[in-house]
Amino acid sequence: MVSPGAKKQKADERAKYQRLATSIVPKPPLVRNAIVAFVVGGLICMVGQGVMNVFTSRGMSQDEAVAPTLATMILIGAVLTGLSAYHPIGEFAGAGAAIPITGFANTVVAAAMDFKREGYILGMGAKMFIIAGPVLVYGILSGVLVALIRWLYRG
């Protein structure tokens, strides 16, 4: 049985060490990272806007154009991933590459490429959504709940 005193001493030692480690661990270059994320994320969205303009110029309403735009961007993200080009973009731009829908496609394709070695059913099939799954699950959960609340509220 560890005495409470010893336990406290251990916790203190850990806290002291973690302060030391935090002081030595280099800080991420916040400004650089934010700017790069802004520029790369912005560029991807501009491409998306371009795609969307193509669809709306063919007579689609903005609502109708959303789905095909997202699908096109997903296709672009998937192809770039297959060419091993999205990983370096992500390493460079962080959230700038992760947050746009192309990043969503990247998580699906990257997982599928990796896990196909464990077979097409238990590997690729089962693990394709290993990163994207939570986004879908919580996106749908929160989306439906929000819609429910608003629907009840407005009648």
């Binding site: 480690a21 030595i24 991933t81 992500g90 390493e91 460079f92 990043g103 997982a111």
Partner: protein, 335 residues
């Protein structure tokens, strides 16, 4: 009463075994680094022509063993026992390779500290008279480790300022009673130390306290100063972890001097996209059996303290919010 010990945790081999031969096989990224000239074999294809990275890792290990026993001019069935370990679940690289070579096998898991664990055990078998020849082997593979411990390879992930890069390669040492120049004289078996670091991207900071503890115990057990050694080499702390270790040793009153180096830092100096240095079982093995052992054979280093560090977490344990327990094991090599 055990007689071949000093202090709390150090083994003293009474008739020090020797490294009969050692071999290193390195992957492509490792061959871009400054250490390339010290490796016995460099493989330009990290997949080694295989379909999966796991299979490729076994090929690295198999080649390292074959070169080591080939250089010693012995046959696999003359090796009495092989101590091997790697990073993959259930150490499949080691056991599958042992099956292929039909050498009696003891599996080890010490994460990236496995190289020194293996050397410690192989030396004990030889010194104890239980083996004429014993192998200590370890391997790691970037892709295989990455997909087991972190994310799929092609995922868009930005490196953290403390991220390290798993070394692809394998190292093997053949230990015997005679027939080599470099003796294994002592070994210090470390305690598992957990200072509460939870971030799996901070392996260096997680492992540094274990390295400090083992180095400190070793010096206290043997009554030596850090200056006794020409080289004190840690396994894979990386630049950040190494800096923390130096600070911890200052706090403990035994500062390390110019003779201190870290394998992870040496491995990838100047190689782009490798974060703060190498990691993985092969990191310490490649530098120890490649650079240090060969330098010792060339009489350029006479005493080396090799401290391999390992982070003993699993993907399961960190997902469940546990902090990262770490170990460091040390051996002394003397010319």
């Amino acid at each position: 009463m055990a007689t071949k010990r000093v202090g709390g945790s150090t083994i003293v081999y009474s008739t020090p075994p020797v490294i009969v031969s050692a071999a290193t096989v390195a992957g492509p990224k490792e061959s871009e680094g400054p250490m390339v000239e010290w490796f016995d074999e460099t493989v330009p294809d990290d997949m080694f022509g295989e379909r999966t990275p796991e299979k490729a890792e076994r090929r690295f290990m198999e080649d390292a063993i074959k070169i080591a026993i080939g250089n010693a001019q012995v046959l696999p069935d003359q090796v009495n026992v092989m101590f091997a370990g790697d990073l993959l679940n259930q150490i499949i690289s080691s056991s599958f390779t042992a099956e292929k070579l039909a050498i009696p096998f003891v599996g080890l898991y010490g994460a990236c500290s496995t190289s020194v664990q293996g050397l410690t055990m192989a030396s004990a078998m030889v010194d104890g008279g239980y083996a004429d020849l014993a192998l200590a082997v370890t391997s790691s593979h970037y892709q295989a480790a990455e997909r087991q411990f972190r994310y799929p390879i092609e995922l868009n992930i930005m490196r953290k300022t403390t991220s390290q890069y798993t070394v692809t390669g394998a190292g093997a040492a053949l230990v015997g009673a005679s027939g080599g120049k470099i003796k294994i004289t002592e070994a210090t078996i470390g305690k598992v130390i957990d200072m509460g670091i939870k971030n799996p991207h901070q392996m260096g900071p997680a492992m540094a306290p274990a390295a400090a503890d083992t180095i400190f115990s070793h010096l206290a057990d043997t009554g030596r100063n850090p200056e006794y050694y020409d080289v004190i080499l840690t396994g894979d702390l990386g630049r950040v972890g190494a800096e923390i270790l130096l600070e911890l040793m200052v706090q403990r009153g035994v500062p390390l001097g110019e003779n201190y180096a870290d394998s992870g830092v040496l491995m990838f100096e100047g190689v782009r996209g490798t974060g703060v240095g190498g990691s993985g079982c092969a990191c310490s093995a490649l530098i120890t059996y490649g650079y240090v052992w060969k330098k010792m054979c060339q009489n350029e280093i006479s005493r080396a303290l090799i401290v391999a560090t390992g982070a003993l977490m699993s993907p399961l344990s960190w997902q469940q919010g546990e902090s990262i327990p770490c170990i460091a094991n040390a051996v002394v090599l003397e010319a």
